[in-house]
Homo-oligomer: 105 residues x 2
């Protein structure tokens, strides 16, 4: 058993996205990204099987998809998609997301 406190990774840099590895194993990887207002986690994808969840733990913005798709994202919302599907996040306010990737890539 391993406990992590996400309150301790509530760190923003107004210029760049911050990344904190919460857990990594053969089963899944959990990462906390803190994206400052106005910045974007660019749309990307990987040619791999598997899925990921993107949970907004604070703030609001948009989940991004292919062909310019923008889905409103706010605290408490979770997006699940295939790793192969293009995905990203745009921060309207400072936004914190928790990403779980299975299997880890």
């Amino acid at each position: 058993m391993k406990k992590t406190d996400l309150n301790e990774t509530r760190i923003f840099d107004e210029k760049v996205m911050k990344k904190f590895l919460i857990h990594d194993s053969a089963w899944f990887r959990i990462i906390n990204f803190n994206i400052p207002a106005g910045k974007t986690f660019p749309v990307h994808s990987h040619e791999l099987e598997g899925q990921l969840s993107i949970q907004v733990i604070e703030g609001e913005g948009f989940f991004l998809g292919e062909n310019g798709a923008k889905i409103p994202a706010k605290q408490g919302e979770i997006l699940v998609c295939d790793i192969i599907e293009p995905h990203g996040v745009e921060a309207t306010t400072d936004i914190r997301i928790l990403v779980t990737i299975a299997p880890p890539i």
Copy 2:
């Protein structure tokens, strides 16, 4: 891509734990449990490979382990353990947890 709003499953029953399936696939299962104050998600385990995360999204209580182990749990904290390790949650206040299991059991 599939979006779910955890604000819509903020439903408590003061007598029993409520369970909401957020996502289920070959890669992982995501479940929101809402445990009313004073109640316990009993310690259990499964003879399977894999891991799970238990994230407190609201409230406080304890993560439970084997031999009566109690680890304080509050909003923003995440516990990761093997599926085979005994685990449970005790609610001090009304508590909401988000559990991700990979692979799904």
